[in-house]
Amino acid sequence: MPNFIMSYLGSTVTPGEAGSQFWALIYVLIIFAGVSVAVICMNWIERKALAHFQIRLGPMRVGPHGLLQPFADALKLMLKEDIIPAEADQFVFWVAPLIGLLAAFTVYTVIPFGPSQAVSDMNIGILFMLGVSSLGVLGIVVSGWASNSHYPLIGALRSSAQMVSYEVAMGLAVVSAVLMTSLNASGTGTLSMIGIVQAQQQQGVWFIFKFFPLGFLAFVIFAIAMVAETNRAPFDMAEAESELTAGYHTEYSGLRWSLFMLAEYAAMIAVSSIAVTLWLGGWMRPFPNLLHAPAWDFIFSLFPGLTFGGLAAIAMIGAARMPAHSFFRIQRIGLAVFAALLAFSALLLLVIAIAGRSADTSVAARFREGIDYVYWFVLKVAVFMYLFIWYRATWPRYRFDQLMRIGWKVMLPISLGVLLLTAIVGVILP
């Protein structure tokens, strides 16, 4: 194999740092595909979970338990007529969803799924992330304006004001987490995403528990601000369907509309990843310092396989419990095949975990490590995604002025105070 492929394989840094453009490209493709798949899964899970919150069944017809619903939706959206209003600004209308999508996906270049499982480790990682995710607002503003219609315009103005306001509190919360990284021997912190996780590892504590309750407060502020930042309930003013029909994407349809949705979900995953990286230890498994014996490593490395095994079991039980009627035969077979696929992945993961348990340098060991990192990271992000759904099912919507009041008069002072106290405690305590 050519050198530019092989030379990276033994490396312990990200492809961006190692200067391996080929592998950087591969990673970009993997992440792009992974995020798209995650959005599809999220689509299905949100519909099902929301339905079960609301004593409904949710999608049941397309595939067993509606498993193929997202694909049917995607197909429908792609085939739908793409309407551009006559009075709209054609070019801007066309380009607006792309801006949001680009911003949402560019963020993923610096998200570390593991110590070397990222496209690049930028020196200014978290700064870059905040900056690029703040570009998403441009797409929304511009789409609202280009539609040349009242409801989209109001939705766009709302969401731009909202996102700009919550970015302030969000940034301050992030800074207080970054401050905590500097509590080491050299006294220098870091903005690099990988560096932040490594700092948590060195200090032996997730930053959410650091200087309790300061870390926790900063985390809560970020967790609230990120809901506002992604325009999700209860802060979904920009697309409040009971007020503004659909907000900034009222005039959009078909593929372009689905791009907005894709961008929204990608942005949700991205901000959740920031929260996980900054406060919840990123890719680290629970208690990496306390339970650091190889035996513990092995036990924790069984988790991915067991998770998939559990999912396979659930799917299998679902298939077994389907009514014995010829109408359900295809569905039963489909669910059983799905269960078999899950079981196969579970088996594969378990085999990798067992094969890679001892040797530290073998390919299997590296694989096992990588799977572990990605698994714990994704698990933590998944908790946030579930929270997003939970919020949406439980809470009414804030009004716009209340939202701004909370942003400027509650969140901003608290985050400033937390930042100040973190700095003071950080100087006094060690």
Binding site: H150, I154, A240, E243, A393, W395, P396
Partner: protein
């Protein structure tokens, strides 16, 4: 009318209290001369509805906005006009009875009750006690159903999706009782002039009692989702405030009036059917805001359950139809009879020329009158509050447009 409400209304009509008058003067809408906005060019005229998710049907509200602040509103109605009142002039009294179910289709039983009692009054007939009790039970069940529908859609307007499904689940139980009783779920043609259409089916009492035990904890379930929810409080407290005096001056009735602190309920004030025989409270609010209206309606559901419980346990035996001639030909004259529908005072004004058909029939629908208060309530609020206020007035366009 009680002394207390008399006093309030006279103050509303006679006093020269400046703030009070300004509120009413403001309500006289003139979109052109609304106060000068903050940025001239930013003044938007927005057309909310008739196709809009939060206007509860085909209401069209023209909003004049300064940014998001509402400078004025104008309701355009009539998209669901079917000429019910005109139809009445070409139908006999009996034939017209099913038409009233199509006005407030969320509370069809109440509509029928009001119409039948009005015609009975004109004929000087009284329905037998058993029929009266059945009427009370069904009407109160329908009040609960109507309030459930209101709660679900109102919460959905404010952004809480889940209560809608909970209320629809429980409303289903009421509709099942209706269906078993008269065969229809929504447009229940349950009553006849002079009594009831049908005798109760076997197990009616048991079904109703089962519903009561089923539903009692469900109200608490709704309340755990909303009553102390901070966002719900922020969205509804001090939103769409209307004073008792303003409400009376605008003719507002029902829960909207009671939430403003006026204890006015026709079931107590002018008891009809068998309501004088039951023991129940009239919940009254204090601030006249959206939250109070929510609380009043929640409490009204509980009170309705109390009434139903009493009525079911004491339901008398006997005939269900009074002595009514085969051909209904009321004597020449006119009558106004009103009942407390879930949404407010539902009145029927019938002019009889002695023939089999009404000479003129006029309905005083609560939604239509209450909708007038929209402009007073939403001036100076934000767009988001407009949908909350439309929801809290609890309008049904079938009734507004008739």
């Amino acid at each position: 009318m009680s002394a207390e409400t008399n006093e309030v209304s006279s103050r509303a009509l006679l006093s020269s209290d400046a703030s009070n008058r300004s509120a009413l003067e403001r309500s006289h809408l003139d979109l052109e001369t609304a106060e000068k906005p903050y940025l001239d060019s930013n003044e938007l005229i927005i057309n909310m509805g008739p196709q809009h998710p939060a206007t509860h049907g085909v209401l069209r509200v023209i909003l004049k906005l300064d940014g998001e602040r509402v400078l004025g509103t104008e309701c355009v109605i009539g998209y669901l006009h079917r000429g019910v009142e005109k139809i009445a002039e070409n139908r006999t009294y009996t034939m017209f009875n099913p038409y009233v179910d199509r006005m407030d289709y969320c509370a069809a039983v109440s509509n029928g009750l009001g119409y039948c009692e009005a015609v009975e009054k004109l004929l000087n007939v009284v329905a037998p006690p058993r029929a009266q009790y059945i009427r009370v039970i069904l009407t109160e069940l329908n009040r609960i159903a109507s309030h459930q529908l209101w709660l679900g859609t109102h919460a959905l307007d404010i952004g809480a999706m889940t209560p809608l499904f909970y209320t629809f689940r429980d409303r289903e139980e009421i509709l099942k009782i209706f269906e078993k009783y008269c065969g229809a779920r929504l447009t229940t043609h349950a009553f006849r002039i002079g009594g009831c259409q049908y005798e109760t089916y076997a197990g009616f009492e048991k079904d109703v009692n089962n519903f009561l035990t089923f539903f009692a904890p469900k109200i608490d379930e709704y309340e755990t989702l909303l009553t102390t929810n901070r966002i719900w409080l922020e969205r509804t407290k001090n939103v769409g405030v209307i004073s008792g005096a303003d409400a009376i001056a605008l003719g507002v009735t029902g829960p909207v009036l009671r939430a403003s602190g006026v204890k006015w309920d026709l079931r107590k004030a002018q008891p009809y059917a068998a309501y004088s025989e039951f023991d129940f409270e009239i919940p009254v609010g204090t601030n006249g805001d959206t939250y109070d209206r929510y609380l009043v309606r929640m409490e009204e559901m509980r009170q309705s359950m109390r009434i139903i419980e009493q009525a079911v346990s004491r339901i008398p035996e006997g005939a269900i139809m009074g002595k009514v001639p085969k051909v209904i030909k009321p004597p020449v004259g006119e009558i106004y009879h009103s009942i407390e529908a879930p949404k407010g005072e539902l009145g029927y004004f019938i002019v009889s020329d002695g023939s089999t058909q009404p000479y003129r029939l006029r309905v005083r629908p609560p939604s239509f009158v209450n909708l007038q208060a929209l402009d007073v309530m939403v001036r100076g609020l934000l767009v988001a509050d407009v949908v909350a206020v439309i929801g809290t007035i609890d309008i049904v366009l079938g009734e507004v447009d008739r």
